[in-house]
Amino acid sequence: MAVSTRRLQKELVEIQKQGTPVGITLLSADDFQTWLFTVQVLGDTIYSGELFALKFRFDGQYPIQPPAVQFVVDEKYQAPVHPHVYSNGHICASILGNEWSPVLSVIAVCVTIQSMLASCKKKERPPDNERYVKHAPENPKKTQFVYHDDTV
């Protein structure tokens, strides 16, 4: 069995046994290619009352390589307005790129993104949003972002 499948199976069992952290819900994990979660930002934040969906796509390289992670943008969900989130749902976060580490799990990524939203003070899109969205590939892993500031 591929390492990616074996690892994802274990992560799924863990989620079913332990549940997900507060504010994060598993929407679907029907196979080992695509998983969906909803994310809510808790407490008094600029996103209070909003519900987002995160889509994970895995290839055989997971967890040695990061999964492709993005916010779902469809008739039901929108990408949060955040300086690191493009309106097509793509996320510019170093842990999904060159700072990915195999010790991160799907849940760890959800929690990191949840806290990235929680610490945000001002709703705005990345300055190059329009240009990026116009040219962006379908899969965010095909974009090599330059990470400026992880404190936002």
């Binding site: 591929a2 390492v3 074996r6 690892r7 274990k10 992560e11 863990e14 967890p63 040695i64 390589q65 510019c92 060159n98 700072e99 990915w100 580490s101 195999p102 010790v103 991160l104 799990s105 300055p127 190059d128 240009r131 990026y132 040219h135 962006a136 590939p137 892993k141 095909k142 974009t143 090599q144 972002f145 330059v146 400026h148």
Partner: protein
Amino acid sequence: MQAMDLPELEDLQPPEYTIMDEFQSLTPLRDYEMDAQALFAESIPDRPLVGPLVPMTSLREEYENGSQVFLKQIDWLISRGYTGVRRTKGDGDCFYRSLAFGYFERILHAPDAELAVMSAISSIESTPPLLEAAGFQPLVFEDFYETFLSLVKRILTPDENGKVLTPAALLEAFNDPEISNSIVVYLRLLTSAQIRADPEISDFLLHPETAEFVETREFCENFVEAMGKEADHPQMQALTQALRVHVVIAYLDGHSRGKEEDPVNFVDLHKAVGTVPEAEPVTLLYRPGHYDLLDTRSEDPMDYYM
């Protein structure tokens, strides 16, 4: 980006990202005092993760139009009996991968292979508690651990296909990305756990680009656990200690040491008793930004080609 104050007529700044046809991470090349082409060859994607043993003279050829100091250092290594080099891919994991390959070779070629395997197994089996103490969940490391341990066990015990680990099978395993990268990941996590467990090492954790001090956890997350991040001295020290392996690094750095008779600096990383008694140390060859394996043989034994 500071483009917001500028009129939005044209793209005054290049976009801050590159859209790639294929996801790949290449080690950024620095400006070296050597034939840059030669090093670049190391980062070409189709280069094997671990190559066959080749004569040092083939490496020498790449420097013939370059620095004289390099040539002198290579000639000296050859004269000292280091006639072969095994090149590894320049993907930022070369230190870990070279060390791992050398570690397996030492066990394979140990005078008493059975003792060497037993001793390696017991040393590897003692590492998961160190990883747990560093805060890693077994879930995130056990698959890598199993891959590493089972490859060591295969030296004596045939796998499900009835095959033991011959030198040729070792080379094959290290060119199977799943096995090879799993071992690299385990060694990275082990390195991180060892650094986290050692309060004294924190004085030596520097950012590889800015040379500023980095807090232990941040250093481990960003420069140890992440794939493709080159190892610096603290990582090397920690890993050789955790794995109990004697490593010697020959610095082919193009720096003249002013010693005609002894032009290559050898650094001994871990002199303590290794897991393979009386075995030769794993000898790595450093060139700026890259590690390969140095060998006293100039080609692989026949078994490699069977």
